[in-house]
């Protein structure tokens, strides 16, 4: 899903870094958001709604709509669309509102 050749832009991707998603090892690039890295890896479902468990992905990509909340390194409600990926992050689907306990 990554663009290699583009008529206007040259993509300078940062160094490749590894992270864990739902127990799988994925890789992304330094400088990317978690959502972008997941999307490039084909992951579109980021969380599930609280009552009906409907799949949710991102929508606005600027941190204002609350559709992309995931559990990152055990911290819930992380807006992955604006949070940068770091080496070794552990990212998991969030069910509903997440637990602060």
């Amino acid at each position: 899903m990554r663009i290699s050749e583009h008529p206007i832009l040259k993509f300078k991707r940062g160094k490749e870094i590894k992270f864990s998603y739902e127990g799988r090892e994925l890789s992304g690039h330094e400088g990317e958001t978690i959502a972008a890295a997941l999307h490039a890896a084909g992951v579109k479902v980021l969380s599930r709604s609280a009552v009906l468990h409907r799949p949710r992905g991102f929508f606005c990509a600027i941190g204002t709509c609350s559709s992309c909340l995931m559990v990152v390194d055990s911290v819930p409600n992380v807006r992955v669309c604006i949070t940068k990926l770091r080496e070794g992050m552990v990212v998991a689907e969030q069910l509903g509102r997440g637990s602060l306990a």
């Binding site: 050749e5 583009h6 008529p7 206007i8």
Partner: protein, 168 residues
């Protein structure tokens, strides 16, 4: 203004005719045709023309006005129009062909000599074209100008092309 254009994005024959050069001028060689039908605040065509063939705007919302006698079809305006709305047509290119210079911002760029599908304003394939030249200098800032040769009778119709799939 042309209702078809507002509804579909494709200008009708009358709208195109209204901006088209005379038959006499077309027969004398390459000339720019400004297919700009809406009054929007925009004037780079006038400021970039090295021959001042496109007149300076009094009000930037005015439609562009071109002096076809001053225009030599160099296509600098083709690369500079933010709306990609300018085309150079040379109906004198050969006894059977016209040359169309059009803006192109996709990859890959076509190779010179290749055959491509000739496409009209509505995105329909209307014939085949031969790529004659690809201009992509740094000062065109990534808007390449591709020169394609088409059958003369298609000169007023062809405004785009697609790689491959030729022969259908």
């Amino acid at each position: 203004m042309d209702d078809t254009l507002r509804r579909t994005g494709v200008p009708d024959k009358d709208a195109v005719q209204a901006v088209y050069p005379t038959k006499d001028r077309l027969e004398r060689g390459a000339v720019a045709i400004l297919e700009c039908f809406q009054n929007i605040p925009c004037n780079p065509c006038a400021t970039c023309c090295p021959r001042r063939a496109i007149k300076a705007f009094l009000d930037i919302n005015d439609p562009p006005v071109i002096d076809w006698e001053k225009c030599n079809g160099c296509a600098i305006c083709v690369a500079n129009c933010p709306g990609l709305a300018i085309f150079v047509v040379d109906e004198n290119y050969s006894p059977t062909e016209a040359l169309i210079k059009l803006p192109y911002e996709f990859v890959p760029l076509p190779t010179v000599g290749s055959l491509v599908q000739a496409i009209n304003r509505a995105g329909e394939v209307v014939g085949t074209a031969r790529v004659v030249r690809v201009q992509n200098p740094p000062n065109f800032d990534r808007t390449a100008v591709v020169h394609i040769a088409v059958a003369r009778e298609l000169a007023r119709e062809v405004r785009f092309f697609a790689l491959g799939g030729v022969g259908a």
